[in-house]
Amino acid sequence: MAAPLLIRREDETSVVSKTVSKSRAGKFRDGWVDGFLWFIRIAAILVVGFGIFRSVVMTLNGEGTSIDAWENLIVSGVAQGAMYGMLALGYSMVYGVLGFINFAHGEVFMGGAMVSFFVAQALFDNGVWESNFALSLFIILIVAVLTSTLIAVIVERVAYRPLRDAPRIIPLITSIGISFFLQYTFAGLFGEGVKTYPTPPDYLRNKVNVLGFLPIEGTKILVMVVALISMIGLYFYVQKTRAGRAMRAVAEDKEIAALMGINVDRTIVSTFAVGGAMAGVAGILWALLFRSISFITGFLPGIKAFTAAVLGGIGNLAGAMVGGIVLGLFENVGTIVVLGGLGIPGAGTLKDVISFSALVLVLVFRPRGLFGERLSHEDRP
């Protein structure tokens, strides 16, 4: 529900003050709730701190996680985090502009990865995959980006645009429906089986000594490089181009943006398109990292990427990337190190618990995220 134009809107100073006074008022209001929240915060710090401490001590004593394993965990964490980050960008952008969580974004990502799987398969069958991997990668990247963009734009047009003025819980629920629809459409069209991308060439699977001392798997370097390039491209687009400026203006204040003559509808479409394109890139990164894909691949990474977006401060693009990497590290390192350090068995099975706990803790500790800027939407009732 857009506030009617010309209703007085808080200026920046009072926005800041509102948070301040709210949090302060909170201390007085519901004593025990705040007490409980503080209890959670302190307990979380103690538990995590203790886990890390014990792990470090164990490593130094030569038991438990080895130095090599630490390195591996960190590198995997960053690479996986870069992928989450790419995906988080889409959540962040849509949230920034329309103010709702687009649950179906994970499916946009899955769609790109799924369609380009068939292209990869074809390239592999023709031998191109082996003989010219760079070209193949480029092709599947383009296919994934185009597919994801197309899905994102269609979804916006068909499902979200008519709901522009509905209470924002309505598009949220709609996006759950779209998520179901896309998942089972892909399952229906392409089958429910798990599809496995052809293996990348050997030189990518071997470890490369970065800076002479840090051995990193080639695919992971590739993932980080692709993510970095996409991020720079996106940054340039959003910060330096006319369209990007319009996008930011619409995100800040749709009504005033319209007053400037910006076509708000078109800008929103382009936001979905860019978010979709980034999801397409993320799909390829997923393919490089995990290689296998099925129709339900999108959902969990989707939710986790939303966590990353929240972690970094939703609406903040650089924050989304950083949030992704923090989450990736948390998920990889945290699982083994914290849970291992605490002596909890079967830490591997608790990976998702770790990421969702991260989500809960972030929202308890710092709802605005690491780099949280307040968006105009957040001030809405």
Partner: protein
């Protein structure tokens, strides 16, 4: 003893000083009007009293006890009720339900009573409904009859304002804060409501603090008028004193721009 006693009340939002050390007291059975230009800090004043914001400094005593730092619901329970400047009803609830919600802090039945329809529960429900109807009757037939079952959003603007006052009355306040009660009403409705505000004091014994822009309303019912400007009390006294105060006229109408000589 004054019902409400305020000392040195201060509240800043970012750099803007909404309230800068306000002193005020309200005696039992008084109607005190707070006037001042927009942005003078009037609504902040209400928000701080009702606990929606906590003051930076200062003391608020209601019936002798400090209410600073209490939650809004506790303050309502103590006996302070308010209306809102921009009319905030529960738009989809019916007129009657809106008022019944106001009885919340004066009633106690919980899940158990509701589930088993205990005698106490049924009695209390009846009491809530009767009281709500009684409060609505204060406005004559305007909110009674078929209107009771209309959703609040279907009411006319003036009726919404009336309903908001009724809802506040249902909390059985000993101090009633009215935020621009006649705004948006036509002259006829304004006159009618002015009379009702008077009878809030005279017949029902409420103590009222009222923010109001319409000086005719202020003039007719106020026992005292307090003028705020930029968070500071610039005048206080009976209506005539305040209305002829040069400072007040200047602050209210605005000074002509000095270099405003046109070519």
């Amino acid at each position: 003893m004054p019902v409400l006693e305020i000392r040195g009340l201060t509240k800043a939002f970012g750099g803007i000083q909404a309230l800068a050390g306000i002193d005020l007291h309200v005696n039992k059975g008084e109607i005190v009007s707070v006037i001042g230009p927009n942005g003078a800090g009037k609504t902040s004043f209400f928000n701080v009293i009702t606990g929606m914001f906590e003051p930076d400094a200062g003391e608020i005593r209601f019936e002798g006890e400090s209410i600073v730092g209490l939650t809004p619901s506790t303050i309502t329970h103590r006996g302070v009720a308010r209306t809102f400047q921009n009319v905030r009803l529960f738009p989809n609830l019916t007129v009657l339900e809106n008022v019944m919600v106001g009885r919340h802090s004066r009633t106690s039945q919980g899940v158990f009573g509701a589930l088993f329809r205990t005698k106490a529960f049924l009695q209390e429900e009846q009491e809530i409904e009767d009281h709500a109807r009684d409060v609505l009757s204060f406005f004559g037939s305007r909110l009674r009859g078929y209107r009771e079952d209309q959703p609040a959003f279907a009411l006319s603007y003036a009726n919404r304002r009336r309903l908001e006052i009724a809802r506040a009355m249902a909390t059985e306040p000993r101090l009633l804060l009215l935020d621009e009660p006649t705004a948006g009403m036509n002259p006829k409705e304004t006159i009618e409501l002015t009379g009702l505000i008077g009878s809030l004091r005279d017949e029902r014994g409420y103590t009222v603090v009222m923010i109001e822009h319409d000086m005719r309303v202020v003039g007719q019912v106020s026992d005292r008028v307090v003028v705020l400007d930029h968070g500071i009390k610039i005048a206080e006294g009976d209506y005539d004193t305040v209305a002829s105060d040069e400072n007040v006229i200047e602050a209210y109408l605005g000074r002509p721009v000095n270099n405003g000589a046109r070519t």
